[in-house]
């Protein structure tokens, strides 16, 4: 089945099997390997991307369901060579170790900050509760998101 999906502002048309998951469409068909593939059961959250402006787990969305819709991946966070404050925050606060959960964490963080520019630690922890990190114990991830909140030089992006 042919699908056309707008990813990070660019339209892609591909012929796909109806069983294909959105995470595999992004990684294998478009080569956007920033989106990671983890538990495959919608638990771990590493595959989180935006679908029509909200974070969802792309291992639980069929690629055909995204036909005609807009997706944003971690590759779409940076703007014109400038890192998003969330990305900068993860750099500054050591928000990652192995990096496996990082793309999903950052996309959820961007969405949180767009809706709540000054979140409390508790609100950050609630927002990322659907995403597992096995390295950091979450402390530095929370600090990274707070850093981004305090250094929000760029406008909230869509």
């Amino acid at each position: 089945m042919q699908v056309t999906v707008t990813v990070n502002g660019e339209e892609y048309t591909r012929d796909v099997d109806t069983r294909l998951l959105l995470v595999h469409f992004l990684r294998d068909h478009l080569g956007l390997t920033g989106t990671h593939w983890g538990c495959d059961t919608s638990n771990c959250g590493v595959c989180t991307v935006w679908l029509d402006g909200v974070p969802v787990k792309s291992c639980t969305v069929l690629a055909v369901m995204a036909d005609g819709h807009a997706v944003r991946t971690v590759e779409g966070l940076e703007r014109n060579g400038t890192l998003d404050p969330v990305q900068e925050g993860f750099v500054q606060c050591h928000g990652l170790q192995c990096g496996f959960c990082t793309p999903g964490m950052m996309l959820t963080a961007r969405w949180l900050l767009d809706h709540n520019p000054d979140p409390s630690e508790e609100q950050i922890r609630e927002a990322i509760s659907g995403q597992s990190c096995r390295c950091t114990g979450y402390e530095n991830i929370v600090r990274s998101v707070r850093w981004a909140a305090e250094h929000s030089t760029v406008e909230a992006t869509k």
């Binding site: 109806t18 679908l51 974070p55 969802v56 639980t60 969305v61 369901m65 659907g130 995403q131």
Partner: protein, 330 residues
């Protein structure tokens, strides 16, 4: 996942007609449970009919101060909607305590009501499960059943109903509005969830191809205070071990009206009518709350690892009632 055909429909009539005509087909909404179940071969339709384009996403205020919630409205949309927060805070609280933001952005209200149990044996096709494959037995009876139900069970099935929203809806006497080949009908939510008895595979009264289009939520009783209290192993992104939806009206220290429903402990969202009857007209005291909780849990049946839920449910009921009672309780 098996090979599967996929199509989209733009109106309810076509959706109902398409699925009704093909026994091997299924509606597809947010997919957050369904895509998982397709992948692990628990559900094996040959055709998916994507209903996400149907105009069933509105949230309307009804003249009776209630709400009509479109079946395709997403959990987060409903939870954060000003009308829902204003008129039905119990629904908003229950939704926000379920799943995680990433799932709530995708999961629909109709799908939430029809989600399948998280019983690990139901989801493992190599084990016996009367709900998944009738007549094969129940591996949970003597298995790892810490999360399983103590109320509404049968010797066929002890799977817990997973929805938080449904518990709030049962407390509020909501109606599920469904459309099928025979037209539109309204099903009181307490008749919508069927206990397992001898047919645990039959979970609701909908015909194949009949589609939930709306949920109508009446207001909580006048003058009542409501709360959804959920107790679980971790504070977020976890199913309930015990949960309570309560709306309580107390006047002059006496319980005038009380609605009480339980989640996490029963095979269906459990309306605690025994406790309600016992409390109504009685002084709003901790002692009476505890007696009513024990009365509700009296028929509970523990199996192996889940006996703790009986005491936990009692304590959760008492804490919920104390929290909404004026000045706590005496």
């Amino acid at each position: 996942m098996r090979p599967i055909s996929y199509s989209r429909v733009a109106d309810v009539g076509t959706a109902v007609g398409t699925v009704t005509a093909d026994p091997a087909s299924a509606f597809l909404a947010g997919g957050t449970t369904q895509v998982d179940l397709l992948r692990i071969y628990v559900e094996q339709p040959r055709r998916l009919v994507d209903i996400n384009d149907l105009p069933l996403r509105d949230i309307e205020e009804l003249p009776n101060r209630g709400l009509r919630i479109g079946a395709l409205a997403r959990m987060n949309e409903v939870a954060e909607h000003p009308s829902v927060i204003d008129r039905s805070p119990l629904v908003s609280q229950a939704l926000l305590l379920g799943a995680s933001p990433q799932l709530r952005n995708m999961a629909s209200i109709g799908g939430n009501l029809l989600q399948r149990t998280r019983c690990t044996y139901f989801r493992d096709v190599s084990t016996a499960c009367n709900k998944r494959t009738p007549g094969t037995g129940c591996a949970a009876m003597d298995g790892v059943n810490r999360g399983h139900a103590v109320l509404g069970t049968s010797d066929q099935c002890i799977a817990t109903h997973p929805s938080d929203l449904a518990v709030a809806l049962v407390a509020l006497d909501a109606d599920v509005i469904a459309e099928g080949q025979r037209g539109r009908r309204s099903i009181p939510v307490h008749e919508f969830f069927l206990p397992p008895e001898d047919t645990p595979d039959i979970e609701h009264p909908l015909d194949h191809g009949e589609l939930i289009v709306d949920v109508e939520v009446p207001p909580a009783p006048d003058g009542s205070t409501s709360l959804y209290l959920k107790v679980r192993d971790r504070e977020s992104y976890e199913f309930a071990l015990a949960s309570v939806a309560v709306a309580l009206r107390v006047e002059g220290g006496m319980v005038v009206e009380v609605r009480l429903a339980l989640g996490g402990v029963a095979t269906v969202p459990w309306r605690a009518r025994r406790a309600e009857r016992m409390l109504t007209g009685q002084p709003a005291t901790t002692e009476n709350f505890a007696a009513a909780a024990r009365e509700e849990l009296a028929p509970a049946v523990a199996r192996g690892m889940n006996g703790f839920k009986i005491e936990l449910a009692c304590r959760t009921i008492v804490r919920a009632l104390e929290t909404v009672a004026p000045d706590g309780a005496r």
